[in-house]
Structure formats: structure tokens, C-alpha cells
Amino acid sequence: MRMRVVGCVVMLAMVCGCKGKKIADADLYNVQAALTTGLPYPVLEWRAITTAVNRGREDGEGTAEATMDTLFGNDAAVAAARAGTAYPAGAVLGLVTWREREDPHWFGARIPGAVVSVDFVVVGATTVCREFAGEPLREVTNCGAKRAAEMEGMKAAWTP
């Protein structure tokens, strides 16, 4: 009986000893890739339309200029993108571009690193493109018709 109790205590100590273990924030969230305040739309609350990768120039070690984008849209934009129709007035697209970084949990994968820019295309009588960059994010340019056309041209990733 005594042995049983001692044995149980030993096992319990081993199993429960780790309860207090604290994991650093950076090992739980992708802290580097956070969007700061300063955007006119809640882009991460929107649904995604597609994602894309620009491998850039390889520097042998890896990720020199590689970026990773996700195109988000408000409801009107997502509906049009998935139906493959033109974006109606009121549709807003948001393209977040991150620098790529190696995935600390998987050799062979890359994940979002620091934010490079966030571009919005606001579809209307005159379509507007607005670019945000820096930390905190600030409006830097009116990104122009070419960029807007590029973003509108990104096709929705097909999902059953």
C-alpha cells in the first residue's frame, strides 16, 4: 500500500510537473506578422479570396526577397470573386503582403514574416487603390490603376 502511494506520488510528480510551463508568445502566435493599427478596413475579419507567393531572388540561404500575399474581400467582393463575375460598386479588396520567413515548426515550409504593405481597391464610379505601409501602418501612396487591375485580376482559389 505504502509503495503504491509512493509510486503514485512519483508518477503524479512526473506528469504534473510541467503544468506551470510557460511558452513564449512568439512560439504561440506569429507575432512578427501582426498587422498594426491604422487601416481603414478590418481586413483580417474578411474572408480570403486567394493567396500567392513571389519567390523573389533566392540567396542560397532562402528568403531574400520572397513575399507571401493573401487577398481578402468584403462580402460583395468575395461573392463576385467566387462567382467569377466583375466586382460591383461597393466591393473592396484588401491585399496583405508579408515577407516570407522559414516556418520554425516545419523545415520545408515558409510562413508570413513582417508586413510589407496592405493595398485596398475600393470599387466604385472611380475605382481607388490605396497603399499602407510602415510601422504603424500609414497610407503611403495612391497605388494606381495598374496595381488595382492586378488585384482585380487575381482569381479566387477554388474550393469545393
Partner: protein, 344 residues
């Protein structure tokens, strides 16, 4: 025999957790309390010796498994590392040192070898398609890098078995995931207009449900996979998104669910990789009690445009759990979610 293996596995898991976190201190404190029980110990020791001798007769066989034997097609410097560090358990040639040969140690080792072979047997890997061999090598490197292989408990008895930093670098250099782009350059982007399928072609063999609407969930993260030239998007249901915003990780709440959609990466002709063919969607849904056997998560995978359930039988989930095991401290979740609540 089965039950014995199962319980030895659980004890071992206890060891693994205990040793990893507490540096043995609690253990020492509890052992001090044992001196008063010395007489009882003596009686038990004699009993144990007798049982120990009888136990030697019980020896599960570690003979050569069936099927054609073909080694992997890898350069010698890669093979050497695997032979040195992994073949003891993951091959037809289990290498046991003398203290492995006596029961009950032998039972532990035999069970390890059998389970290891069932997961990966390098002696037959050459019969598999090249893509599968490559995937196994990537999983191997990642199990090493995350400290899961060789098994921690095994390293206690075989301290010289650990993979060195140089060896790991050799393996990584050989695999070079981003050295080449996807083969399907110039292919068009994904299909566009489509009907939403809200049903899978059938249930997952382990009974974990298909979760319709995952394409409308919010984005947790994306990954660019150089090992198999795919792009992936990880989305989460409301419960999961609230847990991220409320900073609750790593304990994901009951009902939290993830979907990971995987597409072939294709070059869009402008130097950009975009999602091409839809390959599969995978789910993890948290129900602590219902899925207690798989870390509290229900795993399911549905393959192709017709969402065919993956897995010959319910055992497929061991594959999922096995590969997710090294991130158990993160509640078996690989993905680092994009922080939420700070933007806007």
C-alpha cells in the same frame, strides 16, 4: 501482450513529459520518502527477480517483416546518417545493445521497434514512389529538428544516438526544399465559377465529421510548402478565432476547429505562385473527451474536388497524430496564428 505494450507506452509518455519539464527535481523529492519502506522493498526485490527470470521467456519476435525490401535511393552520406541514428528501430536490422536484450527492457525495445516499423521502415521505403520517399525524409528531418526522434527515452539509455547538428545540416542540404520551383510552370490559375459542395463524398473512417462552410471561416495563416510545391490556407471557426483574439493559446477551447486547404502551387506566368488544382482539406476539431485518444482533437481529411474521405480505416488518424506529436506543447497545432485584435 497488447495491453502490456499499450500501458508501457503510456508510462513512457509520462516519463517523456516529466523529464522534459521538471528536470527530475520532484522525482528526487518523492524518492526520499521511500527509505522507510526498505524491508518491504527487500521482499519485493526477491519477488521481482523470480518474475524477471520467468519473464525472459516472453519474447515478441523482431524478425524480418514481409514484402519486397528495397532501400531508399539517397546518396551515401544521407543513408549513413539514417543507418547510424534511426535504423536501430526503423529498419529490418534492429540493433540491440546487451541491456536491451533482457526483459522487461526487451519488451519496451521490441514494442518501440514494432511501432517504429509500422510508422516508417527505411528497409522497404525504396518500393514507394519518389514523392512518398521525399515526404518521409522531410517528416524525418522535422521529427529530428523538433526533438521527437530518436525517442527521448531511448536517448537516456543510448546517449550517443542523438543526431548531431552537422548531420541534420547534411540532411537539410540534401533536401533543399526551395531550390526548385513547381514543375507545373505556366499552367493557368485555378478554376473559377463553381457550385459550393456542402457534403463530403462520405464520412471519415474514424467518424470525425466534415465541416461545411470552412471556406467562409477567417484566415489563421498561410504556408508556402517547398517540400511538395503546395500552397495552404488555414482557416478557423468562430470559437478558434475568439481564442486567438482572447490570447488563450496553447489551450484551444472545446469546439475550436481548423480547416487546412491545400492547392498545387502553379506559376501564373508572371513569376508568381498561385493556387492551382485543389488537393484536399483537412480538419482538426477539439473535443477533449470524445477525442481523448488523439490528443483531444478529431482528425479528418477529404481529398480532391469530390472530397473523398481519406484513410483505409480509423487507424489513419495515427498518421496525423504521429506527425503532429512533436508540437504537443502547442496543443498539437503547428500553425502560429496571425495575431488578432491589434489591427483595425
Amino acid at each position: 501482450m497488447r495491453g502490456l505494450f499499450a500501458s508501457s507506452q503510456r508510462v513512457r509518455d509520462g516519463w517523456r513529459i516529466g523529464l522534459r519539464a521538471c528536470g527530475g527535481e520532484e522525482l528526487r523529492d518523492s524518492l526520499v520518502g521511500m527509505t522507510g519502506a526498505r524491508r518491504t522493498l527487500g521482499v519485493m526485490a526477491v519477488g521481482a527477480a523470480v518474475v524477471g527470470l520467468v519473464a525472459q521467456a516472453i519474447r515478441p519476435s523482431l524478425g524480418r517483416p514481409e514484402g519486397p525490401r528495397v532501400e531508399m535511393a539517397v546518396p551515401p552520406q544521407v543513408r549513413e546518417i539514417l543507418v547510424r541514428r534511426c535504423y536501430a528501430c526503423h529498419s529490418d536490422e534492429p540493433r540491440l545493445v546487451w541491456w536491451d536484450e533482457a526483459a522487461p527492457m526487451y519488451w519496451v525495445v521490441a514494442s518501440d521497434v514494432q511501432r517504429a516499423r509500422a510508422a516508417v521502415n527505411y528497409s522497404e521505403m525504396g518500393t514507394k514512389p519518389l514523392a512518398t520517399q521525399r515526404a518521409v525524409l522531410f517528416e524525418s528531418v522535422n521529427q529530428i529538428e523538433l526533438g521527437a526522434m530518436p525517442l527521448r527515452i531511448y536517448l537516456l539509455g543510448h546517449p550517443d544516438a542523438e543526431v548531431t547538428a552537422e548531420e541534420l545540416a547534411t540532411l537539410k542540404k540534401y533536401l533543399a526544399p526551395f531550390a526548385t520551383g513547381p514543375a507545373s510552370a505556366g499552367a493557368g490559375a485555378s478554376e473559377s465559377a463553381h457550385e459550393d459542395v456542402t457534403e463530403a463524398a462520405g464520412p471519415s473512417p474514424n467518424g470525425v465529421p466534415f465541416l461545411p462552410g470552412f471556406a467562409n471561416w477567417r484566415v489563421i495563416s498561410t504556408t508556402d510548402r517547398g517540400d511538395d510545391h503546395t500552397l495552404r490556407m488555414i482557416t478557423g471557426n468562430e470559437i478558434a478565432m475568439r481564442a486567438i483574439a482572447a490570447h488563450q493559446l496553447p489551450s484551444w477551447p472545446e469546439g475550436a476547429a481548423f480547416a487546412k486547404s491545400t492547392w498545387q502551387a502553379v506559376d501564373d506566368g508572371h513569376g508568381r505562385l498561385v493556387p492551382g488544382k485543389f488537393l484536399q482539406v483537412e480538419f482538426m476539431e477539439k473535443h477533449r473527451v470524445q477525442y481523448a485518444g488523439t490528443g483531444g482533437w478529431g482528425f479528418a481529411r477529404f481529398v480532391g474536388a469530390d472530397l473523398k474521405p481519406y484513410g483505409k480505416d480509423a487507424h489513419f488518424e495515427n498518421e496525423c497524430l504521429g506527425c503532429h506529436e512533436p508540437v504537443r506543447d502547442n496543443d498539437y497545432v503547428f500553425t502560429l496564428p496571425l495575431p488578432r485584435g491589434s489591427e483595425r
